[in-house]
Amino acid sequence: MGRPQQKLISFTIDGRQVQAPENMMLADAAKLGDVEIPVFCYEPKLGQPVGACRMCLVEIEGIPKLQTGCSTPVKDGMVVHTRSERVQAAQHGVVEFLLLNHPLDCPVCDKGGECPLQDITFGWGGGVARTRELKRHFKKPVELSPLIAIDRERCILCYRCARFSQEVSEDHQLVLAERGSHSFISTFDSHPYISHFSGNIIELCPVGALTSIPYRFRARPWDIEGAGTVCTLCPAQCNVTLTVRNERVLRVLARENPAVDDGWLCDKGRFGYQSFHVDQRITQPLIRDGGALRAVPWEIALERAAGLLERARGQACALAGGSASNEEGYLLARLMREALASEAIDTLAAVPPRAAHMLARPQLQAAVADIEHADTVLVLGCELREEAPIIELRVRKGVRRNGVRLLVATPQRSALDAVAGLAVRCAQGGEGELAIALAGALQGAEAQEGAHAGAAERAGVTPADLRALAQALRSGGKDVVVIYGQRLLRTAAAAQALLDIARELKLEADRQEREEGRTCGLLGIPDGVSNARGLLESGLAPGYDPGYRPRQLPDPDAAPDAHAMAAGLAGGKLRLLYLLGADPLRCGLPEDAWQAALDSGAAVIAHADFITETIREHAQVVFPAESYAEKEGTVVHPDGRLQRLRPAIERQGEVRAGWWVIAELARRLDLDFGLLGSERSPGARALEAAGIIAEGLSATRASELLLASVAIYAGIDLEQIGGKGRRWQQSAGAGALPEPPSAPERERAAGTPEPLNAYRPLFDAPEAEYSPALRFLYRRASGRQPAPLRSEQAPGAPAERAGESNGELGARSELVAGLVIRHVAGAGEGREQR
């Protein structure tokens, strides 16, 4: 289908000649001429306008009645007036009507100060109320869910929230109950509104009717600062603005980036910030002392860690995960290789670098925005809702608005089944074989007999399903996007199968074709590690140097991946495990193998933010890890977009930058990255090392070092990445990608346990476990009881005592979603007999 082309026309608004794309809605086109048309219900992100609020009335010459600017497309030569007397009279009238039942309780309303209703009433309203009648009343505030409070008195019935629920997240939970002036927003029979995306309605609501419970009464717009960064809690890497008051993150808002998130966030991203500020967070270095972990000064922890590393030279291994940035990954890889002569480094996602390399060609890479303009989208072996939720919204958008044909092929039932043209099931863990079988089916009978024989059986897919899928793809139009879970690359030969599929469907498009509107290719979703792609590209991958350059190693087994690492640790070949924000027991890796690896008595050094079982039982040294709100560095989106993390708050407690810790350890092992205040005098360096003075600008220097060391990032600097990110496929470095290997990955040596190929639910994560607001979702997703929060153990702690740190932790009843039957009506029984 490709991206639609646009034609420019010119029209007149308030006496100005303005150029605008044809058929753009007047409300948007007016902005191009610096004219503002007030709107409430219009929100292009929600799809077609509904014209519910009438705030946007304008006068168009030649049309006798006033028209709604939000649903009138501009045409060539149109003459529009937005400030004529008729329009003003209408605007005053509409504002008066909207305020008819509005309580005007701005002083206690959380929206006060950032409320479109306030702004529009001041800007376009008449300024007086003439009614003396009573306003309608509702009970307030009511919990729409444990995360959202609804105040129905304030609602102006703009339908935004209901439209979001019906047409964007498609959970169909919010509805308008009753009729006319009795209407109110509700869920069917008042179930709690719980979905992965519910928090977005808070930002959509143009009044204070829907407010965030965790943010309730925390701050006013003039008390806060906004800090833009990138959410790294899942691979979707949404752009966010953190609301900061007194160095605490109080709220997360979307920072719309059409190339990444389309302005939506999931509930984990929106409410997970609370975990940055709980008492449980590790904010001091810890070392094991007589069986228990004890807080120590940095110097002692660094000394101990350096000693352990020194002793494990050649026998150390490292795993990265969480929100590890490219810089940290790059430095850690060099520390392991250059200072410790160890090749065993990998991420928790354990993406085989060779397979990733085969699939990394820029011609094959689909970007997120391509999904919505493709002809057909195949979701292969991943559950987007749990693994990269915002990408699921993009798929839904394509299907609903642009008629994208959706095919789903997953082991479990998928949330996308409902909108898919075809949904096919395979066996648990059979995604890789399914890709191979599919490649065979597309290549024709011969291939099916040959190399691909038996794949369909191994994948557990019925021949009829496989045929239907192949047929749907073959007839699926020119532009097909395949979104695959990188988990399936663990099956050797699956990468080759994906390449075969791409070749059969002609999914290659060079830069020029893409600029001309082709939208096709492959998009791999890493398994649980937000920055898996960036870490791999920065050289944190077994046997691979930065920029997909294979290392020349004497023996292919010399660079164990995450699976071989577990075996090596259990077998005593490896003696030290360095964990960079990674917990091998809480990810997609096989738990038994890793339990055995940790029980082997190997020393563990970890950067961690919470004391999980792994840390409590096994860590020798624990460095407090930064949250993404404190981090500075770069990450890479699954589609190759480099994005920048900017620190929004100061590091809590004694937390220090992850890259600094790694560089400092390297210095103690006689490896100098040239980052540690090398431009400073020795005295200043000593002060810096002691944490007395700040580290200068070295975080930027770490990023510069990274960008200079990864050949495919050539020509990109921090300035260019800026707030919106930049895809390396579109810059000069794309040519520096080494020629991909043709042969598929070697079969993994027999005896290494096969990973359990299942995703982890979105809310089964420490950010949800330690965020008071999300704990009920964590409990549901993981089936585990969350660790107690200390602050919760003091019941009803008065907010005054805690001052601002009462923050998120004020006693709050946890409403667990459930069905409450309030009334059982027999057949034919009316609600009310009149």
Partner: protein, 185 residues
Amino acid sequence: MAEAQLPVSVWSPGEDVVEVRRAPAPGAARSFTRAFLETLRGLKTTFARVIEGPVTIQYPEEKVPVYPRFRGRHRLHRFEESGLEKCVGCSLCAAACPADCIRVVAAENTPEHRVSAGERYAAVYEINLSRCIFCGYCEVACPFDAITMGHDYELSDYDRSDLIFTKEMLLAEPLERTPLRREDE
């Protein structure tokens, strides 16, 4: 010519001539008048006041009464009947304050712990009086007349941090010390 090439910033006296004009020197009679008679004339006022008695106000034992609209240190108020705080913690005063010296942290009322009449109340309400310029904007901004400017002006202290007044201090009845000017004064 050489002078013209000097940089402009170098000052040169140029052709300005400072001329001092003096009045003609007074004669002997005029000098006498100024030295004695004029002095006596001035002293007349002084001595006339002597019989009026002293006007010194013995501060701090005695205080100057202030006008009713005098803007002294703030007070927060409660409803008389219910005893609930009038302030709902809306932060509008903090927004209005040009000296940025008010800090409000709001929290939610619960049925067990009801502090104010609205949904929210000020869990923390602080005014840094060492920064306040006593402009009264906060009083004007408050939608609930919860904060008003009181009459107390004795605000010196030994420690700056003691000048950060908390909600409790602002709510407390001040020791009624500042006299108010009567109608006819």
